[in-house]
């Protein structure tokens, strides 16, 4: 009987905590609109079908990584017959996604994901002051 105030108070605190994501985002004015990556201008065709790239580009990168480093094979035959040189900086960045901040980073920042690839691989456009972590 006498615990009622404590119980109600506890319930209120709990509700406040559990709805934190909602009211915090409302206050910060974050919109519900998703990331809007700007498509690259100098390359029209992805190395793999666009739907695959959207879902599984990391699988492709890991396959490229193991292929280049462990199998000494730096040539990738794409689905449309074109061959690409396997290189994160040389091909991915310089050939297609040179405007990394407008494309790659838009979705990555939205999802709160930090790629630590760039701790080692060089992004020539950026001032390389210090690795991320």
């Amino acid at each position: 009987m006498h615990d009622r105030p404590r119980i109600y108070a506890g319930l209120l605190v709990f509700l406040g905590l559990i709805t934190f994501p909602v009211w915090h985002n409302l206050r910060a004015g974050t919109s519900s609109k998703g990331p809007e990556p700007k498509l690259p201008v100098n390359a029209k065709q992805c190395v793999a079908p666009t739907s695959y790239m959207r879902t599984s580009h990391m699988d492709l990168l890991i396959a490229w990584r193991d292929q280049a480093v462990r199998s000494n094979n730096r040539s990738y035959a794409a689905f449309d017959g074109k061959t690409y040189n396997v290189s994160l900086t040389g091909t991915c960045l310089m050939q297609c996604h040179s405007a990394k901040a407008d494309f790659c980073d838009r979705c990555h920042n939205y999802a709160g994901f930090t790629a630590y690839c760039w701790d080692c691989h060089v992004d020539p456009r950026q001032q390389v002051a210090r690795s991320g972590r």
């Binding site: 480093v69 701790d119 060089v122 690795s131």
Partner: protein
Amino acid sequence: MIGRKTFLRLSGVSLLAVAGRKVIAALAGSPSTAASTVTRWAMVVDPVKCAKAAEGCTKCIDACHAAHNVPALTERRHEVKWIWEEPFDRAFPSQQTSYTEAVFHGKPLVVLCNHCNNPPCVRVCPTKATWRREDGLVMMDWHRCIGCRYCMAACPYGSRSFNWVDPRPNIRNLNADFPTRTKGVVEKCTFCEERLAKGRPPACVEACPEKALIFGNLEDPQSEVRSLLRSRYTMRRKPELGTQPEVFYII
């Protein structure tokens, strides 16, 4: 109609037979690829030619470290080096006496990873982040290295360096064509495998003004390294350890 027990017994025996066959096949080993290796990279160092270079010449070291974004760290205990100079008695300990010292004085030797054919560092790596490639190179995979430094303890030549701190602030001129490493991984000379993939010699070999570093394929009887080994007396560092180093020093 077989009973349940008989069926289970038969299945068990069949499974054992299948597994047994696979085990025997695995133990018998894959068809020997070692015998059919077409390439075996090696390097010959000519200290006499090296000594002819200008006083304090470090062109091979500078070329290597520039090409591979090797950091220049001031604290000696954190230094990272892929190729460097050592006095004779450090490169070949226990060889020098006080009587023979004068001949080697002031003529350092260039030392680097020996890319051994029987490398202890490869044997101890728990993740295969370093492995011996078919063509003789002892490779590094900086994506996989966990930084345990077991390979550094295993190397009898002190060829390996560890990134104790973030290397990037200490890289003088970043080469955008080659990645850097991150802190917490081990690195060493890779015989410029990225240049070999394009048919070019290693950076140190190309940079030497006296052509004192000779690189080539031991399996090719016409190569310069083979003819040098045939015609000159050479020695390798600590061969008694069974590591079979592939860097030869002309005596």
